[in-house]
Amino acid sequence: MSPENLMIAALLTPLVGGLLIVLTGSWPNLRESVTLVTAGITLALVANLVPGVLEGGRPELTLIEMLPGLELRFRLEPLGMIYAGVAALLWPVNSLYSIGYMRGNNEKKQTRFYLCFALAIFSALGIAFAGNLITLFVFYEVLTFSTYPLVTHKGNEDAMKAGRVYLGILVTTSIGLLLLAIVWTSVLAGTLEFTPGGILAGNVQPGMAGLLLMLFMFGIGKAALMPVHRWLPAAMVAPTPVSALLHAVAVVKAGVFSVVKIVVYVFGIDFLASLDTTQWLLWISGFTVLSASIVALRILIQQGNLKKMLAYSTVSQLSYIILAAALFSSMGATGGSLHIVAHAFGKITLFFAAGALYTAAHKTEIFQLRGVGWRMPWTMGAFAVGALSMIGLPPAGGFISKWYMMIGAFQAEQMVAFGVLILSTLLNAAYFAPILYMAFFQSEEPLRAAYADGHDPWHVDWDHGEAPWPIVAALTTTAALTVLLFFFPDVPLELARAVGESGLTAGLGD
């Protein structure tokens, strides 16, 4: 198949899969097979796109012209390839995990769940393939609306409230700020195409460019830059597979992907670096990195909800990528793109582990994790790998991306960014290491005794073992991917380099 057809096929597969999921809704086994097969086909299709893009191919096609100059267009380039690859690779793994989780917890409305999941992947691929801002925007909105039923899956009062926050923040920012920024860009530049080197250089004054960048950055609420990050912790009421794939991979990565894409292909790295009205992005993302880490640390100290801590860790890690993009250097863009992959693998592992704890023992709070390492060795082993990746230590993938980001910070002579990276590494270590210590080196006995009299709001099962096998298989796979990324980073690294180069000057990388 030609790359163009591959792109269309990769987009259509989840849609057709979603339809089949609805049709087979009454037979759970068949329905789950459909999900797995669809995910597998999507992965194969996306994987087939990689070699062409590595060789410099940029397949593109126009779907439809909505208005003169306003087209739905796809154009695949390295950054989109990275994002599409991550989403397509983790979907099958996550599907396997979902089956274990949803059945293990007897969740309701599973057909709707799998359908929305397929739709979310469809829109994630659409975002990855988008050839211009308007296409990106369309799929961005589809992603928001298709994930809303997943966030509110439980259907109780808490879930509804969280759903309102989720939808409220994401829709407000995207319609109120992002759309405005897009229309403005179209008026200024006369085009919305993603072009290496940017389309705005020479079309806008420095002050206005700063304002426009601000509209874009806060308009992309999914990137969770403070203060528009509140939806992410709120969305943690969702079932864990949702938190794992959507709020560690598809949704939040759609946000930072758009950020990097806009910095590289709309503004252009050189253009942004030449302005002094855009430096605030570095500061605000640095601030987000640190303060979100501190919030995560506070949750650890209060021994609060594990998923909430992971959510704040995500907020902080996302801002790494924004920070890397805000260095406005090619190495920074490379590191940021690579971190999209590294963080995805690591964070999905951590969420998988959190879900495994819940499924096996109804453990959701950090203090309940004492001694759990020996009861669930696979789960907590994977958790350790994920944690290493978050901190940025070998042999986990997070090390490589952090390495490039640090080089980028040096290259751009941004010592502030360098300091933020170092400091946040320490903070990450400070909130992940104690959990590992508790899990492996502390005894669960005192806790058990304390809750023996039946006053346990969480209904923890203290005599649990490992989680169901699909869950264990899935989290082992992602942990293995995290380690593999450290040893064999070639493909994503090549792609990430191409991103960094194409941002520099038109025609260099493309």
Partner: protein, 485 residues
């Protein structure tokens, strides 16, 4: 003009279904003619027809260019679809012996609206306006609720005041120029522009139109009228009557008086701009606090009309294109929304939000159509609403009117809130009755098919708007006198 002949026939026929068949036939014929007309206008430019063979300016002339061919098509489309829809809905909401009268009034109203759009003679505009208004008063008064009578009376008073203002304006113009033909007026007016009479005529006309199109603060008749009218009537009038009034305003401002006089001498944009902004903002706010879904949409209509007038007040090609394309797009989405509510009323007997609890599950297709229309109202991409918003914001930014663009986006968010209110009640609240209560099951196909046909149109022109935007762009250029084809 077939509808005019069909009306008395429909009134005389005793059997409701036969009257309905005549209505559908007439509306269908009008739609067919309108489509052909638009096709020819797009190809050949202006079409003229001299009524009774008297040549203008003595006789009445029908004159169709891209602008009114467009409006005619809107009225005919909505008329045909609501006529199809009417059958079951009207049977449910009206007494049997009134039904033929209803259809007669319906056809008359449609005739009036089409007539306003087609004619090239200002006094003829007034005549048709009265035809459509009087029949609309009658239609609204047929609502089940007794309050329909008072709201119709309210509309009657305010509508008549508006019509009187319009006729005074027309009279003054006639006094100064001695002609009623639009083209003739446009030629002769510049000679007498400096007199005091013409600005006075202009002012009378502006106020009259504003009343008719329910521009804030002259909108008071609208919410009650929409709320208590029979569902079919609400769907029809909401998506056509005010649109035709907007057309009259466009026609008089740009063709008869000329953009230069209206905007440079009279500075009408200085009135329209703030009023439309206040309308958009305050009416969206009021809509958020409504507990009756129909009334909620009625207030939203006033806000949406504000968008159109806002586009007009830009007086640029982009702004006018936005206003004209929104004419069509808003007609499409409001018709869908009101028709979905009509289906709810058909089953549940009420459109209070209270009564709509849990309907998402009970009436999936009806509420699905409502959600589609709601998304369009918000302006979500791939619906027609998005196209309108796109043009409007681009127009505002082109003029460098920042706050306006921001306000348009803020009010879109307010639309999210009021649409969401209905959706949340319908989908996330439990159905109050017992499960096997068949009082609120899916609406009959006779209601669903027309509704979903419109949903389809909504999405189609949202995805591929090149046709609508070309026509609207042409119309805008004609009105501004730039390169008229």
């Amino acid at each position: 003009m077939v509808p005019l002949l069909a009306a008395p026939v429909a009134a005389l026929v005793p059997h409701p279904r036969v009257a309905w068949a005549i209505t559908v036939g007439a509306a269908g014929w009008a739609l067919y003619a309108a489509t052909g007309l638009l096709g020819r206008v797009m190809e050949e430019g202006v079409i003229r027809y001299e009524l009774g063979g008297w040549s203008p300016p003595l006789g009445i002339e029908y004159r169709v260019d891209a602008v009114n061919a467009w409006v005619i098509l809107i009225v005919a489309t909505i008329g045909a679809i609501t006529a199809l829809y009417a059958l079951r809905s009207v049977e449910r909401e009206l007494e049997r012996d009134r039904i033929p009268l209803f259809y007669a009034a319906f056809i008359l109203c449609m005739t009036g609206l089409l007539g306003i759009a087609v004619t090239g003679d200002v006094f003829n505009v007034f005549v048709f306006l009265e035809i459509s208004s009087l029949s609309a008063y009658g239609l609204i008064a047929m609502g089940q609720d007794r309050r329909a009578l008072t709201s119709s009376y309210q509309y009657l008073i305010m509508g008549s005041v508006g019509a009187t203002f319009i006729v005074i304006g027309i009279g003054l113009m006639y006094g100064m120029t001695g002609t009623l033909n639009m083209m003739d007026l446009a030629e002769r007016l510049p000679a007498v522009m400096d007199t005091r009479t013409i600005p006075v005529a202009f002012a009378f006309l502006t106020v009259g139109f504003s009343l008719k199109l329910a521009l804030f603060p002259l909108h008071l008749w609208l919410p009650n009228a929409y709320t208590f009218a029979p569902s079919t009537v609400t769907a029809f009038i909401a998506s056509t009557a005010t649109k035709v009034a907007v057309y009259m305003m466009l026609r008089f401002f740009f063709t008869v008086f000329g953009a230069a006089f209206a905007f440079d001498v009279m500075n009408v944009d200085m009135i329209l701009l703030p009023l439309s902004l206040v309308a958009i903002f305050s009416m969206s706010l009021v809509a958020i606090y409504q507990d009756n879904a129909k009334r909620l949409l009625a207030y939203s209509s006033v806000a949406q009309i504000g968008y159109m007038v806002l586009g007009i007040s830009f007086a640029t090609v982009m702004g006018l294109t936005a206003g004209i394309i929104h004419l069509f797009n808003h007609a499409l989405m409001k018709a869908v929304l009101f028709m979905a509510l009509g289906a709810v009323f058909y089953r549940v007997g009420s459109v209070e939000l209270e009564a709509m609890r849990g309907l998402g599950k009970r009436m999936p297709w009806t509420m699905g159509a409502f959600v589609a229309g709601g998304l369009s109202l918000i302006g979500v991409p791939l619906t027609v609403g998005f196209i309108s918003k796109w043009y409007l914001i681009t127009g505002a930014l082109e003029k460098g009117w920042w706050p306006v663009a921001v306000l348009v986006l803020i009010t879109s968010l307010m639309a999210v809130i009021y649409v969401w209110k209905v959706i949340e009640v319908a989908y996330f609240h439990e159905f109050p009755g017992s499960e096997d209560d068949d009082g609120a099951l899916e609406a009959p196909l006779a209601l669903l098919i027309p509704t979903w046909a419109l949903v389809f149109v909504n999405v189609y022109f949202g995805v591929d708007a090149s046709l609508t935007s070309r026509i609207a762009g042409d119309a805008a250029r004609i009105l501004l006198g730039e390169g008229a084809p």
